[in-house]
């Protein structure tokens, strides 16, 4: 980790330029919320967060073959006393729906951060249907869905979503708008 990425406590994380440095501020926000466990299916929009968690000796991470695995792992982690977060792209939400009956019916704290595809400057039409269905699908199975379109809004949203999940036993998805993530470069 370079000097520019030295981790700051949450109060100082808010002094970052959140228009550009939101991924590291997001990591600091989740750490301040007591997250010690993370599972992911990679997405370009989550790449900095995935790297920071993988480099953190205090956080257990799991790379998944499909997103719903992370829903079950998160429940197991809470059974054992650890706060977990699941990272995925909007296309993965459709894979999760039945497994989400586990946190919904058991009232497990559940927090997932979903990077959106198919909604803003999208070049791949195959991303559009699931992008369009993401919020409705999550709400249909019983999750609270929040959205953020700017870095500053995202940090606020994730901070309070972590409180709702881990202190109030809620199941929360935070959608990170594709407008914030920017156009995919390739």
């Amino acid at each position: 980790m370079g000097a520019a990425e030295a981790i700051k406590p949450l109060s100082e994380a808010r002094t970052r330029d959140l228009a550009t440095d939101w991924p590291i501020a997001l990591y600091e926000t989740l750490k301040a919320a007591g997250v010690q466990h993370m599972s992911y299916v990679p997405d370009a929009g989550h790449s900095t967060l995935i790297r920071l968690f993988n480099e953190d000796a205090d956080v257990r991470t799991n790379v998944l073959t499909t997103e719903e695995e992370g829903v079950a792992i998160s429940a197991g982690s809470w059974l054992g006393g650890k706060r977990s977060v699941l990272l995925m792209q909007s296309s993965g939400v459709g894979n999760c729906i039945n497994m989400l009956s586990l946190p919904v019916q058991s009232r497990f704290p559940f927090l997932t951060l979903v990077t959106m595809r198919g909604e803003w400057a999208e070049f791949n039409p195959w991303q559009v249907p699931m992008g369009r269905a993401t919020q409705a699908s999550l709400e249909a199975i019983g999750l609270t869905v929040l959205r953020a379109e700017t870095g500053a809004d995202l940090i606020d949203t994730v901070e309070q979503a972590a409180t709702m999940a881990f202190d109030a036993d809620q199941q929360v998805a935070v959608l990170i708008g594709q407008r914030l993530l920017g156009k995919k470069k390739w």
Binding site: N62, T65, E69, G76, G81, L102, Q105
Partner: protein, 190 residues
Amino acid sequence: MDRRQAVKKLLDARQGALVVTGLGSPSYDVHAAGDRDDNYYLWGAMGGAALVGLGLAQAQPEKRVIVITGDGEQLMAFGSIATIAVARPENLDLIVLDNQHFGETGMQASHTGSGIAFDRIAAAAGFAETAELRSLEEVDKLAEKLKEHAGGPRLFVLKIAAENLPRSLPPRDATFVKNRFRAHLGLATC
């Protein structure tokens, strides 16, 4: 072999191990051996048992975690074999009660009667130890082996008779079972 006898042998020797069960008959088998606070029964979320076990094993590295599930439930979690092999917990054992059928839905044949062998799949994925067991005598030896430290995840297939035994129903209140389990570990319930 008789599934209830096999499961009871494993649980009688659990020595404080935490137990997660897959939906359907494995939940009934574990409940029939004695309802306990350190059992977590699934009544749904098919494909979730092994992975609930992984998350629990990672959060409680000083405890052994035993997942007891069926061939149908584990077939829906095929990818979990890769995820668990890569995570490489040293305190997680998967027990697949394999009757080669979907017993809850009318005994339709499953893949495990047509050449899909989870012990060989897990071995190929890099599990520390795997085996297929066909007798209660072998289960006695396994019960002792499970007490020993493992160098990584282990998976054992128990070939059991395809029969629907009288149901022994665990609580269906998932929040109650969750909170009871966490209280057993000394954790707050909300």
